[in-house]
């Protein structure tokens, strides 16, 4: 295998948001530190296909891929004048600046209008725990104009609607379902494996982004770490949703970039395809990252702590990776809310089955991240250094993180934070979660480790891990 350090790959710049520090307060990005190199994902794993985006075609490549994917979709049920809600999610906008996802949403509207004749197409974008985030993305990408003034964010505390399901009454957000038809427009990357365990990944937004608090709470408290995503299946399979269902259209990211777009009238068929692809591509990178024995994690991206990326993997997954989180024989990952809930008042696990947060993370440096997600768990379990006053204010003024700074220390600048982290951690290996496209930005020592380890992981994937993960989910 010929592997070389790539030219340093710049991450996207910080963005203005009510949930993050002012972009101008981020004085230095982590990739600018001395000794940081870039390793291209496809140099580590050549079996991961060449992405269509980023590419010289720009977002036009996504438009073409969306048009092609939608050719095979039957939209004949939608008649001229029918109302259609295109259901999206904030998650898609965090991938590569949101440009490919926004283009897919624009293209869905155009193709649907052309194929069905309806001009009553609305965009409804769900959120996680930052209720205005979707509106920020809509504005940033001018989607309200594109959707003729019919685009809006929806939140889990908005007015609800009961949905009768196989497991009783659950609740959706009324505005998600206030059209005759719905289109499910999402992204297929693995993202919250610690929550959904990659069981019905494509269905999850019906239990989250489009769901009310009662449903989300059922997911995180009532059903268990490997059954939680059943609430999504229950809602999706309900008569209420099926009576409105048309098709799904998914952006297909990989650790190396956007591979294309997939669409189908049959959501479970689409889910099966994306599951296999995700095991192939994300499975490789997560297994590689899980093999790291020690490192300093540096967060440097426009998302809350768990959602910052490296090579398409979110920090929550790396935190959880003290066990193989795709392997359903492991009841609990090192991080998930079921795990967090089961620490006693002395912060010790209630039962021995609780795995620790990934012990490879020796220190955590937060150079840039958003608030709006309960994150004190990390600060309690990992030595945490926050860079700069403005970043510290993000946490101390956040109702979800009032106590975060109680368990963290603050450094004036990134260099000081890193020096201190290295003393605590006793390692020079640095893994940067900055969302850099197609590459991992890491210290030279970690780059050398990853390059050496990748062939060993490659060997294990197709023979051992992927067949086991598929078998556990009933995929032949």
């Amino acid at each position: 295998m010929s592997v070389k350090f790539a030219e340093l790959v710049k991450p996207l710049p910080p963005i203005q948001s009510r949930y993050g520090p002012p972009p101008e307060s981020i004085r230095k990005r982590a990739y600018e530190l001395p000794d940081i190199v870039s390793v291209k994902v496809r140099d580590l794993f050549p079996s991961i296909p060449q992405p269509v985006y980023p590419s010289e075609k720009g977002v036009n490549a996504v438009r073409e891929a969306t048009e092609k994917a939608l050719e095979k979709v039957d939209m004949s049920i939608i008649k001229p004048g029918d109302t259609v809600n295109v259901l999206g999610s904030h998650h898609g906008f965090t991938i590569l600046g949101g440009y490919p996802y926004a283009e897919m949403l624009r293209t869905i509207k155009d193709v649907m209008h052309e194929k069905t004749g309806t001009d009553q197409i609305r965009l409804r974008v769900g959120v996680g725990l930052r209720f205005k985030e979707a509106d920020e993305h809509i504005k940033r990408h001018k989607l309200d104009e594109y959707y003729d003034g019919k685009a809006r964010g929806i939140a889990p505390i908005d007015e609800g609607i009961p949905v009768e399901t196989e497991i009783g009454t659950l609740y959706g957000i009324k505005a998600a379902y206030d059209a005759k038809w719905i289109v499910h427009a999402h992204n297929s990357d693995v993202r919250e494996i610690h929550f959904h365990r990659h069981v019905d990944r494509a269905v999850k937004p019906f239990g989250m982004s489009y769901a009310r608090i009662e449903t989300r709470s059922t997911y995180h408290h009532n059903l268990g770490p490997r059954g939680a995503n059943f609430v999504a299946r229950a809602i999706f399979s309900s008569k209420f949703v099926q009576d409105k269902w048309t098709f799904a259209c998914f952006l297909k990211p990989s650790p190396a970039g956007i591979l294309g777009v997939d669409a189908d009238n049959d959501l479970f068929a689409l889910d099966k395809r994306l599951t296999i692809d995700n095991f192939r591509y994300y499975g490789r990178i997560l297994t590689l990252l899980s093999s790291i024995d020690e490192c300093i994690a540096v967060l440097d991206f426009s998302c809350p702590i768990p959602y910052v990326f490296v090579a398409g993997m979110i920090f929550a997954n790396f935190s959880a990776a003290s066990v193989d989180i795709f392997d359903l024989d492991n009841p609990l990952p090192g991080y998930t809310w079921y795990t967090e809930a089961l620490y006693d008042r002395n912060d010790k696990p209630l039962i021995p089955e609780i795995p620790p947060i990934n012990p490879a993370i020796k220190a955590l440096v937060i150079n840039y991240s958003w608030g709006g997600y309960p994150s004190v768990f990390w600060a309690k379990h990992i030595p945490t250094i926050v860079v700069g006053e403005k970043q510290a204010e993000v946490f101390s003024s956040d109702p979800q993180n009032i106590e975060f700074m109680k368990y963290s220390v603050k450094a004036d600048d990134l260099e000081t934070a890193i020096r201190f982290a290295q003393k605590i951690a006793g390692t020079d290996k640095i893994l940067i979660f900055d969302g850099a496209p197609e590459a991992l930005n890491v210290s030279k020592s970690l780059a050398e480790y990853l390059i050496k380890k990748a062939p060993e992981i490659e060997e294990k994937m197709d023979k051992e891990l992927i067949p086991k993960w598929c078998r556990q989910r009933g995929i032949a």
């Binding site: 725990l129 930052r130 209720f131 205005k132 939140a155 889990p156 505390i157 908005d158 609800g160 009961p162 497991i167 009783g168 009454t169 659950l170 609740y171 365990r197 990659h198 069981v199 019905d200 009310r212 608090i213 009662e214 449903t215 989300r216 709470s217 059922t218 408290h221 009532n222 059903l223 268990g224 770490p225 490997r226 059954g227 995503n229 059943f230 299946r233 009841p331 609990l332 809310w337 967090e340 809930a341 089961l342 006693d344 008042r345 209630l350 039962i351 089955e353 709006g372 309960p374 004190v376 768990f377 003024s397 109702p399 979800q400 993180n401 009032i402 106590e403 556990q472 989910r473 009933g474």
Partner: protein, 202 residues
Amino acid sequence: MKLVSFSAEVNEDKCTGCGICARVCPTLSIRVESGLARVDTNTCAGCGACVERCPLDAVKLVSLEIPRMLGIDPVSVDRQKLVEICRKAKIHPEQIVCFCTSTRAEEVVAAILTGAKSPEEISRVTGVRTGCKTECIQPVLRLLYAAGIEPKPVEGGWQWYGKTVTIWEISDELKQKYSTKGFYFVEDENLFKKVMEKIQNR
């Protein structure tokens, strides 16, 4: 426990009295009077639900001069009764039910045993449901039901609609039906049983 450092403040020049802020407030600290939203700063927990859902950005959080602590010491109530309620709800007393405020089941039950009869009253005492406002309603309802209280949703409010299913109530037939699709209901149920067995020993 939750440290309340902020309170909601309404910009009367922007407010139209639409009432969305009152419908989403988890502590019922906002009323619309004479066409304007009014905040009771004595009970507002500074969660920001009103700020985040006001369509006109007419509400903001302002720092309190003197922050106040919400919380109740579980030691202050009858331990046996507390454990009984937790057992009935199938939640370990030390289990965290609100990730933002690190509120544990035993604090919620302590609030119930000292007179709280609804999620809103429990939130005012413990701070539960005043962080993300999204994930913790079900354990609160489960503990209320286990204490023999069936709270009613606030009329016209969007605070919460109802209690939902737990793993313990899913039928064996359904568990079996989906066991080959990756849903490990039985195994997860056994995991929770182990957690509950720990109550005696702690």
